[in-house]
């Protein structure tokens, strides 16, 4: 349990650094976790070279989903969109620093799924777990 609830997760859950909604934005996407109704939306501003200038997330959910969103958003500042597109499951797991079963993993990966769907410019119907496998 101590492993699962690393302090950073509880801390980021309680006081996230990147919660919000950017307007204007270059990228916007939102999606739900069908298991629990958790919701994440992300907004991203990029510069003319497609580098992330600013990013934020909003939504509701468990500590894993919200903390991973916050950590993920933090990690993409200064990255190019191509780098964002190539983020994987493992990157998120590393950010969180804990082991997760398949159900909790979905909580952790919701923000990555939303982020990549936005980066790729997908439609709502096109978003799939394949983005984060």
């Amino acid at each position: 349990m101590d492993d699962l609830y690393r302090e950073v997760i509880i801390e980021r859950y309680k006081t996230p650094h990147y919660r919000g909604h950017l307007d204007p934005h270059d990228i916007f996407f939102e999606d739900d976790n069908p298991v629990c109704g958790d919701h994440i939306e992300i907004t991203v501003q990029t510069d003319e070279t497609d580098v992330v200038k600013a990013a934020a997330f909003d939504g509701h959910g468990c500590s894993i989903s919200q903390a991973s969103a916050d950590l993920l958003i933090e990690s993409i500042h200064g990255k190019t969109l191509d780098e964002v597109k190539s983020l994987t499951k493992d990157d998120v797991i590393e950010l969180l620093g804990i082991d997760l079963g398949p159900v909790r993993l979905k909580c952790a990966l919701l923000s990555l799924k939303v982020l990549k769907a936005g980066a790729y410019g997908l439609g709502t119907e096109e978003v799939s777990d394949a983005l984060v496998e």
């Binding site: 509880i10 959910g61 500590s63």
Partner: protein, 412 residues
């Protein structure tokens, strides 16, 4: 209603091998409070299927060799045991995959034959997605109308609103006999009686009632009833649809294929008798045998005794949960509900509650429990749900309460 023999829970726990399971690196003893999602299985049920595969396995209905004769007899005796549990005739019991398929069977075969655009179907606000989505699909496809009986402020079936809705002369009333979130037990017999007065057909979602309460389809006068083996100490992969014989006889088949036919020519076929008409292809044979063993196991213990034990558990858990500051239990008082306690905790997401409890070996469920509209109605996203069955004890409730205090500390 006092049962003749109160449950000897300590004794019957020995029937469930999984209850000795230890969880996590700290080897915590499993405290399984998730039977509403799926129940654990006694040795009787597990061994019935195991032995079948080791000794008797063959395809049924079509073989004359010894194994085929044995398998056919075992499969049909599974059906008899399930029918006996709900006081139905075996002919009226169709094996499906689960409650969900049972309801879809009615939606595809009965409703698409008997309902027209504009016809009204009455549901309730506390339905499981399985008794909601099939009708939404029908609404989209055929233009039937859906209306929902609300829940009252104390989480009960709103009988007055129902009587009002009945004036619109519904063709079908489909409702849960026990909510898997609130635990609310609905007055099924009265709901059915009133529906019949206006000529409506009734479908009872009995996924939660058949496992936990004495249920008698004749006494209820239900037209259709759907339930799953896995929620009543039986195997996964099988469920049942009860239907009155006249209704079933008049319905067209749902799926086509082997076993559901009497004769087939290249360009025509004639259907087999009920219940086979609705069992296309090789059925879940081992599962039917396990389902029968589960029904026999429960009947042997006595549904009255099980219900009484759960009533006691329900009172105990509500009393103790409601004492914890920051915990709100969603649902009616213990007198009107099964042993299901869904709650929210200030400032902590149900996933986190469940995860921290899990570290102590306590298995509860977190989410919307496939009843998202009900959660919306209650103004919440999701709940943590602890649910209890014949094998649960008060000590396990105490452990749950202790675990919740731990959660509070971590997120405090």
């Amino acid at each position: 209603m006092k049962p003749k023999t109160p449950l000897n829970v300590d004794l019957l726990r020995a029937d469930f091998p999984i209850l000795t399971r230890e969880i996590g690196s700290a080897n915590k003893k499993l405290i399984y409070l998730d039977s509403t999602a799926t129940a654990q299985k006694p040795t009787d049920v597990i061994d019935a299927m195991n032995d079948f595969y080791r000794l008797n396995n063959a395809n049924i209905h079509r073989g004359v060799h010894t194994l085929a004769e044995e398998s056919t007899a075992m499969y049909e005796s599974g059906r008899e045991q399930v029918a006996a549990l709900i006081n139905a005739s075996p002919r009226e019991v169709i094996f499906t995959r689960n409650t969900t398929e049972s309801i879809n069977l009615v939606a595809y075969s009965w409703a698409r034959t008997n309902l027209q655009a504009g016809d009204l179907i009455i549901l309730t606000e506390m339905e499981h997605h399985s008794n909601l989505v099939p009708w939404q699909m029908l609404e989209a496809e055929r233009g039937v109308r859906l209306e929902f009986v609300p829940i009252t402020n104390d989480y009960l079936f709103d009988m007055d609103a129902y009587r009002e809705l009945l004036k619109q002369e519904p063709k079908l009333v489909s409702f849960t006999q026990m909510s898997n979130v609130l635990g609310t037990i609905t007055p099924a017999k009265e709901i059915i009686r009133l529906a019949h007065e206006v000529g409506a057909i009734t479908l009872v979602d009995a996924a939660q009632s058949v496992p936990h309460l004495p249920v008698d389809v004749r006494d209820l006068d239900a037209d259709f009833m759907a339930f799953s083996a896995h929620k009543m100490v039986g195997p996964s992969g099988i469920g049942a649809l009860y239907g009155k014989l006249d209704l079933l006889n008049a319905m067209p088949p749902f799926m086509g294929g082997g076993d559901m036919i009497k004769t087939v020519h290249l360009r025509s076929f004639a259907t087999n008798e009920v219940p086979y008409k609705f069992e296309a292809g090789t059925p879940a044979i081992a599962e039917a045998i396990g389902f029968g063993a589960a029904a026999a196991y429960l009947q042997n213990i006595g549904m009255d005794a099980i219900a009484a034990h759960e009533q006691e558990m329900s009172e105990y858990v509500l009393e103790h949960l409601e004492e914890i500051p920051g915990i709100t239990v969603i649902g009616p008082s213990a007198a009107h509900k099964g042993a299901v306690a869904s709650f929210v905790m200030d400032g902590v997401h149900p996933h986190d509650v469940a995860q921290i409890l899990d570290a102590d070996g306590i298995a509860v469920r977190a989410g919307h429990h496939c009843a998202q509209p009900l959660h919306e109605k209650c103004g919440i996203q999701s709940t943590t749900r602890a649910s209890f069955y014949l094998y649960n004890t008060k000590e396990e409730v105490d452990a749950l309460v202790e675990g919740i205090y731990k959660v509070k500390k971590i997120f405090g």
